[in-house]
């Protein structure tokens, strides 16, 4: 299992579009931007709905359950802050509630060899400091 204890992650800086995402994460809620006109979820947040061009967008909670859409196993310590965790799985998750909205994460609480396309995962939250909590994913625990 990758050892994340010695990794110092870059800290996200919320902006006008992304603030509600990080505020929700701090409350351990995964919330994504949703078009109020066509009900399409999208991520990363954007100025307009990328499906119907509406500008009426709001953040709504999602279940946090989904599947690994794609992944890579990092062996190269290009960023030395991540060297202690190598090899580690960087994954892309597609949520059940939000098809097409792809979230980057690491696969936590499992060996990196557990990363496979289609594997069921669920959200967990990793506080980085008092302000920022990072949504992460681990293999799904409930039987589905």
């Amino acid at each position: 299992m990758s050892d994340w204890s010695k990794v110092t992650r870059p800290i996200p800086v919320p902006n006008e579009w992304t603030k509600p995402f990080w505020e929700a994460a701090k409350r351990r809620v995964l919330a994504l931007q949703r078009c109020q006109a066509c009900k399409h979820f999208q991520h990363p947040p954007y100025a307009t709905c990328v499906r119907c061009m509406a500008i009426d967008l709001a953040f709504e909670p999602v279940s946090g359950k989904g599947a690994i859409y794609a992944y890579t196993i990092m062996y190269h310590a290009g960023d030395r802050r991540f060297a202690a965790a190598i090899p580690y799985a960087s994954i892309i998750v597609e949520l059940d509630d939000a098809p097409g909205a792809l979230l980057a994460a690491n696969l936590l609480e499992a060996p990196y060899t557990e990363a496979k396309v289609g594997r069921r995962v669920e959200v967990v939250f990793e506080p980085l400091n008092d302000d920022i909590t990072l949504p992460q994913f681990r293999p799904a625990r409930d039987t589905e």
Binding site: V7, R9, P10, I11, P12, V13, P14, N15, T18, Q42, H43, P44, Y46, V50, Y69, A70, Y71, T72, I73, M74, Y75, H76, G78, D79, F82, A85, P87, Y88, S90, I91, I92, L102, L103, A104, A105, N106, K116, V117, G118, L128, L134, Q136
Partner: protein, 394 residues
Amino acid sequence: MWEHRCKVAISGVGFSKVTRSAEIPLAAHALEAVKGAVDDSGLALSDIDGLATYPELPATGHAMIDGVTVVSVNCMMAMLKLPNLAWHVQVETVNIGGAVQQAVNALLAGVCKYAVVWRAMHNPKGTYQNLPGTYAQGAAQFTAPYGFGGPGQGMAVAYTRWLERHNQSREKMATLAVTQRRHSHKNPHAYFCGQPLTREDYLNSRMVAYPFCLYDCDIPVQGAVAIVLTTADRARHLRPRPAYIAGYGQRLAFEVAGRIGSLSSYMDGGRSSSRLTWERSGFSPKDVDVAQIYDGFSASVIYGLESYGFCKEGEALDFIQDGRMELDGELPLNTFGGSLGTGRIHGLWHIIEGALQASGRAGERQVEDVNVSFVGASAPIVQGTTFIFVREPY
């Protein structure tokens, strides 16, 4: 079909010395390549009246210093002091292929007569990708905290999806790496010319970002390449046989910044660009005699072969087996060694090879009886452009 097909051609081509990392300012490489292309055409610098480039620095987190880490149009103007300069442009929404296409348009519009396009690539000493520091701003706030840094990882995630959805194995990619390396031995300008690579080397090499091992990644280098473009009527009176541009296209879709890993976005980019190129030229994949497909990371060739229509989705790694991509194969591919063989100079070298193959000037690596020469340039496919060059105007 495009009414302007075969009205513009690539004439001369030029290369700088390619070194592993920066030893002299990048401007010196660009100058060497540009002068080489102008000489190859038998022209003088005073004949050049158009300039275009894409002055991007793929080594993220390093300072953009004109003449040192990038070579802009302004830099080239200052160096050359062209007495007859009439037109210039820098592109941004597509890679270097977009600069070539803008030069074609300028020549068709009659606002210049002889345009030069160059691509100069910097490799800083030390770390190539400087990732965000303590804080991750903008699109990086959703990627950098998870250790997503360079473009390699962005390409790698799409590759795992491709491999596992299509039940394919990465070991088959050894054929691409080994064959392209062999092609590069017939290209004296290539960084890896003369350095052998075996199937075992590929299969035993260290993993960088699974599924990419070391030999799936082009090596960052410092160097430049350049071309002279002119109208077909003028090109016929110059020294080299012209490579006529029968059609081109560019990707017509783009993902929101920070959305990574979507295999479909690579495929949409490639499909939209090639569709324009097939329609404009009147050709289809089965007419193609030789192909250059961008290979900054090996999987880019898969997305290219499939989205351009050379094979079905999920079949690209089988398609390249059994000698098909050899110089005498059914579809000779990346005949100059590709970026995996030359080093990371982006897509202009693919465009140059496409032109050289069409005009019969590829020397030892010339494919026999080439008329239709296809190029999928630019990195990655989402920034893609495509071209067809022909030997005989029609």
